[in-house]
């Protein structure tokens, strides 16, 4: 009798971890908050999905040390909309309105890490829009990039710009 129960329980637990079943996936953020998501959401995140596939679906708790509990809900929200086919211009506009520059960058890195192509493309556009028509110094500050051109390189760069400004086209110059 006792044996039967335990074997039943075994089959139960096996069916739960079967990859084709709809067991939820637990995503653990870098600050140890657990987010339970449907397997369809995990499918959108290539990095997570390949992890699940590699372990034949036996492991359903996935640590994402690079992603904070602040960013993960945004990623999940985007994936949910994507699965539902509800990524519209309006949704994207609303979505991005909530995000400051820092958050956009972090989500971008998260999308890159999780390998979510659509989100990555979308955020690439968002970032491009935010640095469009801004000065070099602004762009450096935005990305936290140091100006590490050597003096020689700086000189070359100026030369190159002068090239652009004057134009060495024999057709254009020396005529007037």
């Amino acid at each position: 009798m006792a044996e039967e129960v335990s074997s039943q329980m075994n089959s139960l637990s096996i069916s739960e971890t079967n990859p084709s079943s709809s067991a939820t996936i637990s995503l653990v953020s870098g600050d140890d908050i657990v987010f339970k998501v449907e397997p369809t959401i995990a499918k959108e995140m290539e990095t997570v999905q390949s992890f699940i596939d590699e372990t034949d679906g036996k492991i359903t708790t996935i640590p994402l040390p690079n992603i904070s509990s602040h960013d993960l809900p945004y990623v999940i929200e985007y994936c949910e909309k994507s699965i539902a086919g509800k990524i519209t211009k309006e949704f994207e506009a609303e979505f991005v309105k909530k995000l400051n520059n820092e958050e956009v960058k972090e989500l971008f890195l998260a999308a890159n890490y999780l390998n979510i192509k659509k989100l990555l493309d979308f955020l690439s556009q968002v970032i491009a829009d935010r640095i469009a028509n801004k000065s070099v110094e602004y762009v450096r500050r935005y990305f936290g990039i140091e100006n590490d051109f050597t003096p020689e390189e700086e000189a070359k760069l100026r030369e190159e710009l002068a090239w652009t400004f004057t134009g060495v086209d024999p057709d254009d110059e020396d005529e007037n």
């Binding site: 960058k105 890195l109 491009a128 640095i131 028509n133 990039i145 051109f149 400004f165 086209d169």
Partner: protein
């Protein structure tokens, strides 16, 4: 709730380290940079750091050259020829950087016959060209150009002064053409457009996309195109005032064409979204103007750095 969110956010911001963007794979960075368009890559982005400079030197970066949405520059038209000259130079420079990898180029008002010639000599892999408002490009210049490109699949010419002759040469030289926008001289002076329609019908059987808004197309012309282009999925005939489209004809059209356009292409992108107050553009153009003026005044004044 809100206070816990705030504190979490504050903590989050204080603990977040600056991600190092330079460690991102090159194609990820390129994905962002390419969205800026050629002018901003050349004038700005490549000067950010050596890594970006190198990315921007890579011919692969210049498979596409997009110089279409240049409203900040267009607004500076008080410089007239200076502006055209400047953008044409940047464009040539970008074409040179592509080292023959160029596949797609978008050009606005600054396009000239001379620039087309420059592209024709250096971009044998070109598949797609889009010209917007290039009134300085003549039929002769265009025909010369297109004769060198039998592989073109997409040609979009909007707000041009090109005539039937240019359309004819496209038909003769581009057997792979899938996508065509042709909006030329007749926009100002409407005349019958059946001959043009017949050129399309006879020489462009592979079209899936056709945008010929604002011409004098008649029903006869329209049906000759529909008969000859079985793959046509998308059609813009808005503003073709000679077309008397009754309910029955409209039904036929809607059944036949998946995407019947009733909105002018490009108007959206052109009217909105550009920050006219962009300071660096103004500064840059001023610099350029000064440069031109001083180099006209005193040719030897080399010693002074900008």
């Amino acid at each position: 709730m809100s206070s816990s969110y705030e504190s979490k956010k504050a903590k989050h911001e204080s603990t977040s380290t600056n991600p190092n963007w330079l460690e991102l794979p090159r194609d990820i960075t390129l994905n962002i940079l390419q969205r800026l368009g050629a002018v901003q890559i050349l004038m700005n982005a490549r000067n950010v750091c050596p890594d970006w400079w190198n990315i921007c030197k890579d011919p692969v970066t210049w498979r596409q050259i997009h110089m279409l949405d240049l409203l900040p520059y267009v607004k500076l038209t008080s410089y007239g020829g200076v502006y055209i000259d400047f953008l044409a130079k940047l464009c040539k420079y970008a074409v040179d950087l592509s080292c023959g990898h160029l596949e797609e180029i978008y050009i606005c008002e600054f396009g000239t016959d001379h620039l087309l010639q420059h592209i024709a000599d250096r971009a044998s892999n070109l598949r797609c060209i889009r010209l917007y408002g290039c009134k300085l490009i003549s039929d002769e210049g265009w025909c010369e150009f297109v004769k060198k490109f039998s592989m073109l699949e997409e040609i979009h010419i909007l707000n041009s002064v090109l005539s039937r002759k240019s359309l004819e040469v496209i038909g003769q030289n581009c057997p792979l053409l899938k996508s065509l926008t042709f909006n030329g001289k007749w926009y100002e002076k409407p005349s019958k457009w059946d001959a043009e329609a017949s050129i399309i019908a006879k020489t462009m059987p592979k079209l899936t996309y056709l945008d010929i808004y604002g011409n004098a197309l008649t029903v006869v012309g329209l049906f000759s195109i529909l008969d000859a282009c079985p793959l046509l999925e998308s059609l813009n005939i808005q503003g073709c005032s000679n077309l008397k489209v009754g309910a029955s004809l409209l039904e036929i059209l809607y059944n036949r064409i998946k995407d019947l356009r009733d909105k002018e292409f490009f108007s959206d992108a052109y009217d909105t979204g550009y920050d006219s107050g962009s300071e660096w553009v103004r500064v840059m153009m001023n610099e350029y103007r000064e440069h031109v003026e001083t180099s006209e005044d005193e040719v030897e004044g080399e010693g002074e750095d900008a």
